[in-house]
């Protein structure tokens, strides 16, 4: 059991209550209501249509794919899917929003309640899990980007991001510690990436969170919450919860009162501060957008959304454990990120194809190699799995050589080193460096006989009952054969000769 998280004040303990609004950019080519591109990093204002710039008379036409991805995401969270949803206008004035309103879904969101199960300690797959409720998911437009540091008196506006589709995924206030909040976002990010509805790239702003925090003494009513906007990493998110809870506890104990307000996080000064300027902007005067009819989804559409969902991380983890016989830890690590599981499955499939063995026979070997050898190498090179110099098919080539006895596991490590350096295939390396394992009993027997002849004292000790010396003989034989002898055969022959 993980210990309960509390903030210790001078007058006692406080509990923390956290709710998150995660904005996830929907992975589409074009924007929510216009055909302009969503690609990141383009020249300023080069991906802005007359619709995005809110020119008079331009009318929004929804991108079907945005609706589809929101529905698929909802299904992946086991959420209620609303066949009827509608767009509303959220009115506010700011330089990043030329329309003067954001098109969003307040009254009738496309997705209703669902939940996410998180593991509280990812290092320990047997640790407690917790279900965090999802209140709703709605689809809305992103705003443009302001730059304040390019000119002494002007702010520059780039509307490329303006009108890009977002899903706002609103959690219930079910989290009670920074760790839970972090685990929730991590799991949500993993699911979005499996589904393919968001790339989850927090550095590029494809995913960011508004963090609602309040504190209370145990057993008391919910306290007043503050909302810290646009937190763009999981580490920052956990820091915001910690800092903001501390600030509120200190404030309350000093006789002050928490004000419901919007705050900003400053990671350099490790503090949150009030965004007072936007206070009266909270009167959004929502109303249904008269430019858009309601979104009505039919059964065929929903069926396509459901049938196109991939196997999700939780199902995958259980299958790896139950059907492939992997340990809970390995199954959890392999499924945490979709890239890792795809890599693993590709490696396994290719190994099965090459060796003709069953996936259950090879799964453990593939998992161990991927998680220790490959990950170790990638770590050293400082690259991600996507940038791996070795492909799943090349990995399978190497592992098949071990599986069919061509090389030993030890030699495989050396071959892998060479593969990383030279980008050559495993078979070619084994061939060129003549690393093939020797299973020829004649050659092994000859080597063993030499060693026995040279170590008669040890032979006597062994026969006298010191059986641990077998290891010594195995070692000497392997050394004499430059590690290429098949260890199983070496063992067999040694025993046969020594025990006679």
């Amino acid at each position: 059991m993980t210990q309960k998280y509390t903030v210790q004040g001078a007058t006692g303990e406080f509990e923390v209550v956290i709710g998150l609004e995660v904005h996830a950019q929907i992975s589409t080519q074009s924007k929510l209501f216009s055909g302009s591109s969503t690609e990141f990093g383009a020249e300023p204002n080069s991906q802005v249509s007359l619709i995005d710039a809110a020119m008079p008379g331009m009318l929004p036409v929804p991108n079907m794919e945005c609706m589809r991805q929101a529905v698929r995401t909802g299904m992946a969270l086991g959420a209620q899917i609303n066949k009827y949803s509608r767009f509303d206008r959220k009115n506010y004035f700011y330089a990043d929003l030329p329309q003067g309103y954001q098109i969003s879904q307040l009254y009738h969101p496309i997705v209703g309640e669902g939940e996410i199960e998180v593991t509280l300690d990812e290092k320990d797959p047997d640790s407690a899990t917790k279900k965090i409720g999802v209140e709703r998911i709605h689809v809305e437009q992103d705003a443009g980007k302001l730059m304040h540091d390019q000119h002494p008196t002007m702010s520059y506006v780039d509307l490329n991001r303006c009108g890009v589709a977002l899903m706002e995924i609103v959690s219930k206030p079910d989290m009670t510690s920074p760790r839970e909040a972090g685990a929730y976002v991590k799991k949500l990010r993993s699911i979005l990436r499996y589904v393919g509805s968001c790339d989850g790239n927090m550095e590029q702003g494809s995913m960011r969170a508004d963090v609602n925090v309040s504190v209370r003494r145990p057993g008391e009513e919910l306290g007043t919450r503050t909302e810290t906007k646009n937190v763009n990493s999981i580490r920052f998110l956990m820091q915001v919860v910690e800092i903001e809870a501390r600030r509120q506890v200190d404030l309350i104990e000093d006789g002050g009162e928490v004000v419901q307000e919007t705050r900003l996080f400053d990671p350099n000064r490790m503090e949150t501060r009030s965004m007072r300027s936007k206070e009266d902007a909270h009167d959004y005067r929502y109303f249904p957008d008269p430019d858009l009819l309601p979104v009505e989804l039919d059964d065929a559409f929903l069926e396509e959304c459901r049938s196109s969902l991939p196997e999700l991380p939780d199902e995958k983890r259980l299958r790896y454990e139950n059907e492939l016989g992997l340990t809970a830890y390995n199954a959890a690590v392999l499924t945490a990120e979709s890239e890792t599981s795809y890599w693993f499955e590709e490696l396994l499939a290719q190994s099965v194809e090459r060796t003709g063995k069953s996936d259950k026979d090879l799964a453990k070997q593939c998992a161990n190699w991927l998680l220790s050898e490959l990950f170790g190498a990638l770590n050293k090179l400082g690259v991600t799995l996507e940038e791996s110099p070795v492909s799943p098919s090349q990995g399978a080539e190497l592992l098949s050589l071990v599986a069919d006895g061509t090389i030993s596991g030890k030699i495989a490590k050396d071959v892998f080193e060479i593969m990383l350096e030279t980008k050559q295939g495993a078979e070619q390396i084994v061939e060129e460096k003549s690393l093939k394992q020797v299973s020829d009993t004649g050659a092994i027997e000859a080597a063993i006989n030499d060693i026995i002849a040279a170590n008669e004292d040890k032979v006597a000790q062994y026969r006298g009952g010191n059986e641990r010396l077998l290891g010594f003989f195995v070692g000497q034989t392997m050394k004499a054969m430059q590690g290429k002898a098949n260890p199983q055969i070496v063992n067999e022959i040694l025993k046969k000769i020594l025990d006679n």
Binding site: S30, S46, M64, Y94, M154, L293
Partner: protein
Amino acid sequence: MSVDKETVTKIASLARIAINDDEAEALVPELNNILGWVEQLGEVDCSGVEPMTAVIPNELRMRDDIINADPLTGGGVRDKILANAPDAEAGFFAVPKVIE
């Protein structure tokens, strides 16, 4: 439902419409007339009637996810976008500095 001068002033400010005191004063009865007129709709008994979103039965038209499928509503028109801006620099709209 009715509005007073304070509400009118607030709505004007939220909508970034500059009005002076006299104008606000004059708008109060005008807006209240409109609100009263709209409220008459409430007298119609429409219990059991589905809310109607369009007079002519119509369905929301959606588009496929294709970049610039219709050049009229696609990107790549920066010069047109910036043409009416009071100020633009280096491809950006330039506005008086707004800082949180």
